[in-house]
Symmetry: C2
Subunit: 228 residues, 2 copies
DNA sequence: GCATGATATATTGCATACAATGATCAGTAT
DNA sequence: ATACTGATCATTGTATGCAATATATCATGC
């Protein structure tokens, strides 16, 4: 179950909530669990029946998700799950890298022992999950490793946006797209980044992060976008 | 009239649209024109009456705007226009700068004569608007000057997000907050940036942009957040 | 056989009725 | 006076009916 990990909109359901937000969250879960997939059309009444609510909260939730770019919307025609294009994925990778590299210096300057322990924990989480090929766990834990570095900046808006970008990317992928050798490479590269960050070597960290993203892109894109 | 310039969500109303999107756009206009102001509560029925529609599309539009961070929302209590805190403004400034500086090199490398002319036009637009103190025109034209540089990168998602960040910031300000001497300084600083970009001096451009944002922040924040 | 047009069907869009919730205010007890 | 309780009111939340729109089906004509 990945339900506790989604980032979209950074909404945290509280005791006081409404159906719109619950439906919104549920749809994200459906996307993360491949129960609805990129390209698939979403029909109000079907979703409403499936979730046991009326069309109103479904309509609301879909409006929000469309605005965030997770769904496509055509007036009078309806909603469908957005299928990220190769170009969009490139755009997002590019933004992701600029943010990560751009804030790495501040993150490292801000880092304390607590941060470092936390980061190590995220690194271990990824490694421990390598064997268990469930859902999108690896994508999420990979993202969490990187995001944990950025979290040290202390800029909540940045943290939320970074996670949103990563999620938009990995929602396009399937776990099978990550081949084992790439998974193990990621582990090694994370280790290298972790070491460089720990010794506060900003320039080396930046280089390693750039290299890491480049490798990920080179490995995944031919699989995800074979024709383009 | 600033209606043609808003960025939120980058939705462009087409022939086929629906009331939700029209209401959404209208509320943005109301925010830009100070007809609804930060902190103000938004009541469904009032807005619906004012815009001549039912509560349904208003509800939809407000959900979207809340998700984007332009409105605050408390379930069973309602919506209010978000009043950006000093910290949030600092966070946004920080992100803005990292994006702008981080992509400046690529922008300059991509620049051709057409881009350069376009940028000069944006620079002139700002200068011409200095005398006409209407609405948020200066904020918008200032943003457009900077965004025009980033547009050269050719990353649509980046361009949209950059404008969104700027808009979130300047929605918190009022035109009166920009004092004349700062307005004239901006003109000079834009000129310097423009020159550096034109001669493709990436490092100098970056320094000037950083300086420019720092000055803006130092001038505006004491006025906008006097107590904090 | 293919294009065209009319009809039927499915789905979205909007308004509204009713229910649920929270805020306000008055009244009572301490 | 202040704190508590209950009734009233305002507003949000949800479901649903009907209208508008788009799509699919089928018949007709060439």
């Amino acid at each position: 179950m990945v339900g506790t990990f989604y980032y979209i909109g950074s909404i945290f359901l509280k005791k006081h909530s409404n159906l719109t937000l619950k439906v919104y969250q549920r749809i994200i879960e459906l996307m993360l669990n491949y129960e609805i997939v990129p390209g698939q059309r979403l029909v109000f009444i079907d979703l409403a029946k499936q979730l046991g609510v009326s069309r109103t909260p479904v309509n609301n939730a879909l409006s929000i998700l469309a605005q965030e770019g997770y769904l496509d919307f055509v007036p009078n025609q309806g909603y469908s799950v957005h299928k990220l294009t190769k170009q969009e994925a490139e755009f997002l990778f590019e933004i992701r890298e600029v943010l990560e590299v751009g804030f790495l210096g501040k993150a490292i300057r801000n880092m304390d022992d607590k941060n470092m322990k936390w980061l190590k924990k995220r690194k271990n989480d990824y490694e421990k999950a390598i064997s268990s090929h469930v859902d999108r766990k690896l994508f999420i834990l990979d993202t969490e490793f990187h995001a944990s570095i950025l979290d040290m900046v202390g800029n909540d808006i940045l943290s939320a946006r970074y996670r949103d970008i990563c999620q938009k990317i990995f929602l396009r992928f399937r776990t099978e797209d990550l081949r084992l050798n790439r998974i193990l490479d990621i582990k090694i590269e994370h280790n290298d980044i972790f070491e460089a960050v720990c010794v506060r070597d900003v320039e080396r960290s930046k280089d390693l992060v750039r290299l890491h993203h480049k490798s990920s892109q080179q490995n995944l894109f031919p699989i995800i976008f074979p024709t383009d």
